[in-house]
C-alpha cells in the first residue's frame, strides 16, 4: 500500500493520474511488470481501478444501475444478486432503486466503495481521497476493505489527509513536498 500525503496542490492528484495512465508524465515512465503502461494501456486498464474525487455517477440513474454500468464499462459483468450483496455490505441495501441524486454525500461515496467490493479481483486500486465525506463508520469500513485487499495480495495507492491506520508491514507513506 502506497499512502500519498501532501499539502493542497503538491501534486497528489496529478501523481495518481499519471499512475493510472490518464496523464502522461513530462518525463519518466510508469512501469507495470517491467512494461511501460502506455505500451499496452488496455491490458493495464483491466487490472486496475481508479476512483478519483469526482463521483462519476449519473443523477438520472438508480443506485443499482449506476453500479452495474460503472462495473460493466470497466469490463466486469456480474449478476445483479452479487451487486446487491455489495450494496448491502456498504450499507446501501435499502437504496438500490433510489435515483443517485437523492443520496447524501456520504452515501454517494459509499457507492464508490461498493464498486471496489465487486472489483476486488483487480490487483491495483488507485484511490483519490477515498475518505472524503465518509462518516467514522464509513472510514472504518473502507479501511477494512483495503486491509483485506492488501492481505489478499492486492495493491492500493491512495491519497488522504488522514493519518494512515493500517498494519505497518505493508504500508509505505510518500510525502510530497514542493
Amino acid at each position: 500500500m502506497l499512502y500519498v500525503q501532501g499539502a493542497n496542490g503538491a501534486g497528489k492528484t496529478t501523481l495518481l493520474k499519471i499512475i493510472s495512465g490518464v496523464l502522461r508524465a513530462d518525463s519518466g515512465e510508469v512501469l507495470w511488470n517491467g512494461l511501460n503502461i502506455h505500451e499496452s494501456l488496455e491490458d493495464y486498464r483491466s487490472i486496475m481501478a481508479y476512483i478519483n474525487h469526482q463521483q462519476a455517477q449519473k443523477d438520472e440513474l438508480s443506485v443499482l444501475e449506476n453500479l452495474e454500468i460503472t462495473l460493466s464499462i470497466s469490463g466486469i459483468f456480474e449478476q445483479k444478486a452479487l451487486l446487491q450483496d455489495a450494496l448491502n455490505l456498504v450499507g446501501l441495501s435499502q437504496y438500490h432503486l433510489r435515483p443517485f441524486r437523492t443520496l447524501s454525500q456520504g452515501q454517494k461515496r459509499r457507492l464508490s466503495m461498493a464498486r471496489l467490493v465487486v472489483d476486488k479481483t483487480r490487483p491495483l486500486w488507485i484511490l483519490d481521497e477515498p475518505f472524503n465525506a465518509l462518516d467514522k463508520a464509513g472510514i472504518h469500513l473502507l479501511e477494512g476493505f483495503m486491509q483485506s485487499h492488501i492481505d489478499a495480495g492486492g495493491m492500493v495507492v491512495l491519497t488522504s489527509h488522514l493519518e494512515p491506520n493500517f498494519s505497518q508491514k505493508s504500508l509505505k507513506v510518500l510525502r510530497l513536498n514542493q
Partner: protein
C-alpha cells in the same frame, strides 16, 4: 549543429529577438520597393484602369493568409510528433497575423470588386474561402483564449487547426462547384488581365515584404508568449505554496 537546442523556449527567446532585428529592416525595404513598383513602374491596365493596382496588396495578402494557416497546421503537427512546446507557441503567435492578412484580403477584394463588378461582394470561390478562413482564424484564437492554462489551450487549438486546414481546399472546390451549378456571376479573380512581367514582380516584392513583416512581428509575439508562459509557471508555483 544541434537544431534541437533551439526547440526550448528559453534558448529560442534571444534568437527570436535577433531574427526580429534582421527581418524588420528588410520588410520596410521591400515595402518601399513594392510600393514604388506598384505605383510608378507597373503600367496602367487596359481593361481595369488604375483600380487593378489593388492586386499588389490583395493577392499577396491572400497568399499570406493561406500560407500562415498552413504553417500553423504544420507547426502543430510538428508539436504533436516531437512534443515540443515551442511549436505550439509558434502556431499561436502566427494566428493573429494570419487573421489580419485574411481581413486585408477581404477588404481589398471588396474595394477591387466594387469598381470592377459593381458589387462589393461576390460569392466566388476565392473570396468565399477567404471569408471562411477568417472564421477559422477567429475560431482558433477564441478557442485558445478560452483556456486559462495556455499550454492546454495551445494543444486544443492545435487539434482544431489541423482538422480545419483540410477544410479550406474542400471549401474552395465546393464553392467552385456550387457556382457552376448556379451559372451566375462568372466573374472571378482567375481571369486576371494579361499579366505584365512588372506586375508579377511587384506582387512578388510585396509578398517578400509581407513575409518579412510576418516573421518580424511573429518573433516579437512569440517573445511575449514565452514571457507569459514563464509568468504562468511562476504563478502556479506560487499558488501551490499557499
Amino acid at each position: 549543429m544541434n537544431l534541437y537546442k533551439f526547440s526550448s523556449p528559453k534558448v529560442f527567446y534571444p534568437l527570436a529577438g535577433s531574427i526580429f532585428k534582421y527581418t524588420l529592416l528588410p520588410s520596410i525595404f521591400f515595402l518601399v520597393v513594392g510600393l514604388y513598383i506598384s505605383f510608378f513602374l507597373a503600367p496602367t491596365d487596359f481593361q481595369q484602369g488604375e483600380a487593378y493596382r489593388i492586386i499588389f496588396i490583395h493577392v499577396p495578402a491572400a497568399w499570406m493568409s493561406m500560407i500562415i494557416y498552413m504553417a500553423m497546421a504544420f507547426w502543430n503537427i510538428v508539436g504533436f510528433s516531437l512534443k515540443s512546446k515551442l511549436s505550439f507557441m509558434m502556431s499561436r503567435a502566427l494566428a493573429p497575423t494570419g487573421a489580419i492578412f485574411t481581413f486585408i484580403a477581404l477588404i481589398t477584394g471588396a474595394f477591387w470588386g466594387r469598381p470592377m463588378w459593381g458589387a462589393w461582394w461576390v460569392w466566388d470561390a476565392r473570396l468565399t474561402s477567404e471569408l471562411i478562413l477568417l472564421f477559422l482564424y477567429i475560431g482558433y484564437i477564441a478557442l485558445v483564449m478560452s483556456f486559462d492554462d495556455s499550454k492546454r489551450g495551445e494543444r486544443v487549438g492545435a487539434i482544431y487547426s489541423i482538422v480545419s486546414v483540410i477544410n479550406v481546399p474542400i471549401i474552395y472546390f465546393s464553392v467552385i462547384w456550387w457556382n457552376t451549378l448556379h451559372q451566375g456571376a462568372s466573374v472571378s479573380f482567375n481571369k486576371a488581365p494579361s499579366m505584365a512581367a512588372m506586375i508579377v514582380e511587384g506582387m512578388l516584392v510585396m509578398m517578400l515584404a509581407f513575409w518579412t513583416y510576418s516573421i518580424a512581428v511573429v518573433m516579437l509575439r512569440i517573445r511575449r508568449i514565452i514571457v507569459e508562459y514563464q509568468e504562468e509557471m511562476l504563478l502556479m508555483n506560487h499558488t501551490t505554496e499557499g
